[in-house]
Symmetry: C2
Subunit: 284 residues, 2 copies
C-alpha cells in the first residue's frame, strides 16, 4: 500500500542476473523487429512498470550465445519490492529467459563499467558429428573430431596472463564495434586471463569437454576464437607450441577458426562491491 | 559398385530408432505445410534415396512431446548399406532429430503392430513456477507446487496391472483417432501397465521428479493424464486413495488435468524378435 502523500521516488538503480538460452535470439543487443534479450527485458519492464529504460548488459552476447548469469543494470522510478520485480519479470519474459536475482543497488553500479572479471564456458562434444543428441544440440558444439586432451590443456595454458589478444579478436569492419565489452573504453586489445582450463563433464547425453576462461575482459569473438584454435590443436592439426607466435602476430589471420556460437555460455560476472544492496532499500 | 546386370532389388524393410526434441514439431504425424517428425523423415528419405515411403511410427507423439528412442519402419527399393543410411539421414535431418540406429529387418516387421511394450518418461520440476532454467524449460514441466513424494508413489502404484484406462484417455470427438497407438486394432481402452514408478534425478539445473511407465500400450493422452492426476495427489489436492474410483468411473471427467506435453518423452519401444536383422542383409 502506498501513501498518496509520499513524494515521487527518485530513480532507483537495479541489478538483475539473467540466464538465457540464446538459440532463438539475435543476441543481446536490441535490434528493431528482431528478438533480442535486451529488447525482451526492456519490453517486460515496460509492461510491468510502465517505464522502458534500456537495460545495460555486462557485455553483448552474440546471436546464439547463452548465459548462465548475465548481469544487467537499469534505473526505474516505480518503487517495486525486489521479489515482486523478479516474479513479475519471470511471468512476463519468455521461458527462454529467467531472472535469477533482482536487487536494488547503489546508483554508481553499472553492469558493464563496474565489472572486474568475467567467466565464459564453452561446451564441446568431441567426435560427435551427425550424432549429437537433440537435447544437447542447441547448447553444444558437436565437433567432428576426437580431441587430444593433453594437447588441449597445453594450448589453454598459453592464454594465461596478460597478452595482446588482437589475433583472437573479430576483424570487425567498424572498429567501434570491435570492443563489445567496453565500447566506451580504450581500443586496446590487451586483456588478462586469470584462468584457462578444460574439464570433462558427464551428461546423460554423452561426455562433454568444457572450457572455462576467466579474465578481466574479452574482445569480440575472443572466446570462440580461442576455442576454435584449441580445437585445431586438439585434433592434431596444429601444435600447442604454435600459440605464442599466434599471439605475437596480432593478426586475426594468424589464429584458428571461430567456434560456433551455440557452445558458448557467459558463465558469470564479478563486481567489486558496486553491486551491494542500495544503502536505503525501497520499502514495499 | 553395382553390376548393371543385377535384377532390380525387392523392397527392403527398415527399422530406424529416432531421438527428437519435439518442441518445434507439430507432433509425429505428417500434416501438410507443418513441421512434423514423420514429414521430416519422409522428406529426408526422398532426398537420399529418391523414394518417399511414409514411415510408420510405433505410435504418434503429440505436438511438443519428445522421444529418446521412437521406432519407425518403412520399405525402400534402393540398396543402401545401413551405416550409410544412418549417416545420410543425420546429415539431412534437422539437428532436433537424430537417427540412433538404422537396420534392415524382416519384412514382417512393423514399428506399431510388432511392438509388445513401450516405456514413457515424464520429467517434472516441483515448486518451479516462474524460475525453471531456460535450459530445462523445453523438456520439463515446471510445476508450481511442491510435491509429496510418498503420495506420488502411492498414486503410481494404483496404475499397475490391467485396467480399463478410459478415464485417462483423451475424449477425442472422432473415435477413430482415440486409439493413437493401435488405430487399426480394437477400440478397447483396457491396457496393462507393467511398471509405474517415480524417481528423483539430479541435474545441474535443479532436481527433477521423473515418472517412468511401461505398458503394453497407451491411449491418447494417457500418460499426461496419469501424471496430471498424480500431480493433484502430490500437491495434496487429492488423495491417492481416490484413484481406484477414477479408474472404475470410465469417464474422462473423473480424473485430473492433462499434464503439459513438454515434460513427456517416449523412452523406448520393445519388440519380440520381429526387429531382428533381415536374414539376407543387403550387400553394399
Amino acid at each position: 500500500m502506498h501513501d498518496s502523500t509520499t513524494t515521487a521516488p527518485a530513480l532507483q538503480t537495479w541489478k538483475v542476473v539473467l540466464s538465457y538460452d540464446g538459440t532463438d535470439f539475435r543476441g543481446w543487443q536490441v535490434q528493431p523487429g528482431l528478438p533480442t534479450v535486451q529488447g525482451e527485458l526492456q519490453a517486460a519492464l515496460g509492461r510491468i512498470a510502465g517505464e522502458t529504460p534500456l537495460p545495460q548488459g555486462s557485455g553483448r552476447t552474440d546471436a546464439g550465445v547463452h548465459a548462465l548469469a548475465q548481469v544487467a543494470s537499469f534505473a526505474l522510478a516505480a518503487p517495486i519490492p525486489p521479489q515482486n520485480l523478479q516474479r513479475a519479470l519471470n511471468r512476463t519474459l519468455p521461458a527462454s529467459i529467467r531472472v535469477l536475482e533482482a536487487k536494488t543497488v547503489q546508483s554508481t553500479f553499472h553492469a558493464r563499467h563496474s565489472a572486474v572479471a568475467k567467466t565464459y564456458e564453452y561446451r564441446l562434444q568431441p567426435a560427435a558429428a551427425d550424432h549429437c543428441s537433440p537435447f544437447l544440440a542447441r547448447c553444444v558444439y558437436a565437433c567432428p573430431w576426437p580431441m587430444n586432451r593433453a594437447a588441449l590443456d597445453a594450448a589453454a595454458a598459453h592464454f594465461l596472463g596478460e597478452h595482446d589478444f588482437a589475433s583472437f579478436a573479430a576483424t570487425d569492419p567498424d572498429l567501434t564495434t570491435r570492443e563489445t565489452e567496453e565500447e566506451a573504453g580504450p581500443l586496446s586489445t590487451v586483456r588478462t586471463v586469470f584462468a584457462s582450463i578444460w574439464e570433462e563433464r558427464a551428461t546423460t547425453e554423452g561426455s562433454l569437454l568444457v572450457y572455462r576462461v576467466r579474465g578481466n575482459g574479452f574482445l569480440h569473438h575472443m572466446v570462440r576464437n580461442l576455442v576454435g584454435t584449441m580445437v585445431d590443436v586438439g585434433r592434431g592439426f596444429l601444435s600447442a607450441d604454435a600459440i605464442p607466435a599466434m599471439l605475437a602476430a596480432r593478426e586475426r589471420s594468424a589464429s584458428g577458426p571461430t567456434a560456433p556460437a551455440r557452445g558458448l555460455f557467459l558463465h558469470s560476472v564479478e563486481y567489486d562491491g558496486h553491486d551491494e544492496e542500495a544503502a536505503l532499500p525501497l520499502l514495499p
